[in-house]
Assembly symmetry: C2
Homo-oligomer: 508 residues x 2
Amino acid sequence: MQKSDTPVPYQTLLSRSREIALLNTAASTLGWDQDTYMPVKAEPYRADHLAYLRTWSHRLATVPEIDDLLKACEDYGFPHESKEGANVREWRRDYNRRVKLPPQLVEDFERTSSLARAAWTVAREKSDFEIFREYLKKLVRLARDKAEYWGYDECMYDALLAEFEPGMRTAEVRQLFAELRPVIANISQSAIGNTSGLSRESLRGKYPISAQQAFNTKVAEAIGFNFEAGRVDMTAHPFSTSLGPQDCRLTTRYNELDFTVSLYALLHEAGHGLYEQGLPSEDYGTPTGEPASLGIHESQSRLWENKVGRTIEFWEYWLPIARSYFPDLQRFSPEMVAAALNHISPSFIRLEADEVTYDLHIILRFELELRLIEGDLSVDDIPAAWNEEFQKLFGMVVPDDAHGCLQDVHWSLGSFGYFPTYTLGNLNSAQLFAKACQNCGDVYAKISEGDYTPLLVWLRKNVHAYGRRFLPQDLMQVATGESTQTRYQIDYLWKKVSRFLAPAGATY
Amino acid sequence: MQKSDTPVPYQTLLSRSREIALLNTAASTLGWDQDTYMPVKAEPYRADHLAYLRTWSHRLATVPEIDDLLKACEDYGFPHESKEGANVREWRRDYNRRVKLPPQLVEDFERTSSLARAAWTVAREKSDFEIFREYLKKLVRLARDKAEYWGYDECMYDALLAEFEPGMRTAEVRQLFAELRPVIANISQSAIGNTSGLSRESLRGKYPISAQQAFNTKVAEAIGFNFEAGRVDMTAHPFSTSLGPQDCRLTTRYNELDFTVSLYALLHEAGHGLYEQGLPSEDYGTPTGEPASLGIHESQSRLWENKVGRTIEFWEYWLPIARSYFPDLQRFSPEMVAAALNHISPSFIRLEADEVTYDLHIILRFELELRLIEGDLSVDDIPAAWNEEFQKLFGMVVPDDAHGCLQDVHWSLGSFGYFPTYTLGNLNSAQLFAKACQNCGDVYAKISEGDYTPLLVWLRKNVHAYGRRFLPQDLMQVATGESTQTRYQIDYLWKKVSRFLAPAGATY
C-alpha cells in the first residue's frame, strides 16, 4: 500500500510523526556534540537548547488531535501484519504512555533525575551512598508513580520494563534469569583456574592511538559499517547515536597500552550502528523505521563484539593485519589473543566483566531494582543488600560502594527496568547467531576469511529491515522461530569455555 | 533597569526572542556539524532538519502578535540610549524586514539560491558562465523584488545593503570606495618590484599538521581566545560560528608545506571568535547580545589577522617559539617573515590577494553588483564587464571566468550587498586599531612582548560589550569619535608598505 493510497488521518499522522522525528534528531545532534566536542562553558546553554527541543517535541506528540487521528486509523482497520497496522499500533502505545503521565510528574522526574545524576557523580567519587540516598528514594517514588499512571496487570515493574522492552513481562525475565543463574555459576566455576592463564593484561604493549584508529576503521569497514553514512569519534564513555537514517555516530575511547579497549568498544558500538544503518531509510520518522527495543539493539552490539569479535576465527584473519599496525603482537597466535580476550575473571565492576560472569551483574541489579519498585526493599538497605547478594553470586566481598551499588549511572537517571535488557541482548544475540549459522552455511569459516557478508545479510533481512514492525518477542519468533530462550547462550558459553580450557601442562 | 521592572510586553518579547534564538542556535549547531563532521549520505536529511528549524523560527518571528507587543513597547517609550530602547528598535527593524516579504518570495528565493549554488559549483569547475547565467538572472530579479518589498529612499541597493550593514547607505559606500581606489593603485604601484622580493612562497617548508595545530592553539590562546568557550576544527573553507554565548567554533584548513595558510585563517576566525566571546552572555537571545553588523564583525577578524598578525612585532615574539615547532623557520628573521607575509602581488583570485590589493577586488564586485541591481548591467554582460573592469584595476587580463566572475560563492546565494562589508571591515579595523593605539599606550611594544591584553580590553569595552546596541556607524562614532573613514586604512597601508620597501641592494 502506497502512502498516497492511505486514508487522510494516516497521512496526517505520518507527517506529524516525521515532524517529531526531525525535532528529536536535531536534539540528538546537539546531544552528540555535547558528548564529543562541545566546550565546557557551553554546558548550561546547551541544556536549555535540549530542554526546549525536547519539550516542544513532547508537546507535539501529546496534542489531543493525535488521539482522534489514531481512532480514525483504528476504525479504518489496517491489516494487523501491514506496515500501516504496525505504525498505528506503535503510535498508539507511544501516545498512551505519554499522555497518561501528568506533566507535573514528567517535570518532577526530569528535575529530580538531573539533580540525582549530579549527586550520584559525587557519591561515587567519594564512595558515599549517603550523598545519593535521598535522591534515589525520590526517584523510586516517582518511578512507582509513573508505573501507577501507566498501569499494569501483574506487577508494577512490568510498567517500567515496557518502556525499554515493550511486551515483555517481569515474570518472563525472572524465568529466563532463574534458568541462567546456576548455569553461569557452573560455567565460571569450571573455567576459573582451568584456562590458559592468559589474561587480558597479557596483551598489553605499545599501541599508538593513530594506529588503533586506522586498524579499528579497517575492522569496522570489514564488518559492514558504512563510513559514508556514519563516523567514529572519541569520548570518555563510548556510545552510538543516529542523527538521521544515513548518519550513525559511533564513539570509542583509547588506551595506548591496550588496543582491545578501543577495538571492542568500537565493535560493540558498530554492532549498534549496523542495526541503525540497516533500518529502512524510507520509513524514517515512523515506528517501522526505528529499532525494536533495547534488548534487540543490544543483541546486535553483543553479537559483533562477542559472538564474532572474540572468536579464534576472527583473529585468524585479523592478527596478521593487526601485526602490521602493532608490532607488539608478533609474539601472539590467534588462539592466544582469543584466549586472553575470553579470560574469565570475576570483577566488582560490571563494565570490566568477562562475557561469562557479565550476566550475574545484571541479575543482581534486576533483583534489587525489582524489590525496590515492588516495595520489598528500602533504599536505605540497598548497600547491605547489594553486598550480600554480590557475595552469594561472586563469592567476593565488596570493598566499598563505589565498587558496589554506586558504580552504575542508570538508577541516578531513574531508568528502572533498563538493566535486564543487557542480558536479554546477550540471550538474543546467541539465539540469532545460532539461527544465522543454521541458515547461512559455515559462518565461522567465513569469519576466518574476514567475510561477514552472509551474516550481515541475514541480520539485515531478519532483524534490521523490520524496525518496530513487530514487538521484540514477536520479532524473535519471526527471526528464529521462538521467543527468547536461554539455551543458545548457555550452549555458546559452554562451548567457548571448553575451547579455551588449557590442556594439562600447556603453556603459551 | 532590571528585566523584572520592565513592562509585560517587553518581557514577553524577551522570552519570544530567546525562544527564536534557541531555535537558531540549534540550527547553527546542525550547520556547524554539516560543515565539519557530517557523513556525506546524511546531506539530504540534514537539509530537511535545517529547513524545518529555520521555517519554524521564521514563523515564530513573524506572528502578528509581535507587532502588537512592539507597538506597546514603542508607546511605553524606553529611553533611546537604553538597552531596552535598543532592543525594541532592533526587534522592530528585524520584524518589519521579515514581514514585508511575502512567504512565496522567501520560498522562491531559498529554492532558487539552493539550485543556483549547485549550478555555480559546476559552472566554476568548468569555468562556464552559461551554466550559471539563468540562475543568476533569476536571483537578481528576486533580489530586486525583495528590495521593492523592503522599500528604500535613494536606490534599490540600499535595501539590500541594509541586510548586512544596517543604516549604511550606498552613497556612503561609493564615497568611501571612491577615496580608496586611486590610493590603493598608488600604493601597490610604488610597492611592486620595490619590496624585499621575499614572497609568501619563500616561507615554504615542512610543517607537520600536528605541529601547526599545537602552534596555532598557543597563538589563539595568547590573543585571548578562550578554549573553554570555543574550539577549532578543520574544514575546506574556514568559517566561525557561535552555538551559544559560550560556544564559539572556529575552523581552519592546513597545508603541510605552508603553515601560514592555517595560521592566518585561524587568526582571522579567532578575531571573529573574540568578538563573539566578548558579547554580553546575559543578553543572549536579544539584539544587544548579538554582533552589530558584518562590517563590524569583519573589522575584528581583519584587525587580528592583519593589523596585529602581519607585523614585525608579532613575529619578534612568536618566531623563536615557532622555530621550536617548525625547524624550517631557522633561516628567517622576524623582519623576513613579516616581509614575506606582506608581499604585494596582484592576483586574479580574491582569496589569494595581499592586504593592499584586496580591496580592489571588493570595489570591482561592488560596482558590478550595484549596476546589476540598479538595472544598469545585464547578467549576460557580466563576464565581459568583469574582465574589462579587472584589467582597469589590476592591469591584468583575466584568463577565464573561473579566475573571474565565477570565483565567489556570494552571488549564487543571492547575497547582493554583502561584498562591501569586507572593505568596510578593513576600514573599520584600521580606524579602531588607530584609536586603540591612541588610548592604550604603545600597542606595538606590547605586541612584541606577546601581550595583547590592553588591545583586547579596549575592544571588549568599546566594541564587543555593546552588541547591537548601536547601529554600526553609531558604534564607530562611540568607539572612535567618527563614522567610518578611509584615512586610517590609507595611513596604515602607506606606513606598512614603506616599512617593507627594500633598501637599495638589500638581500636577505
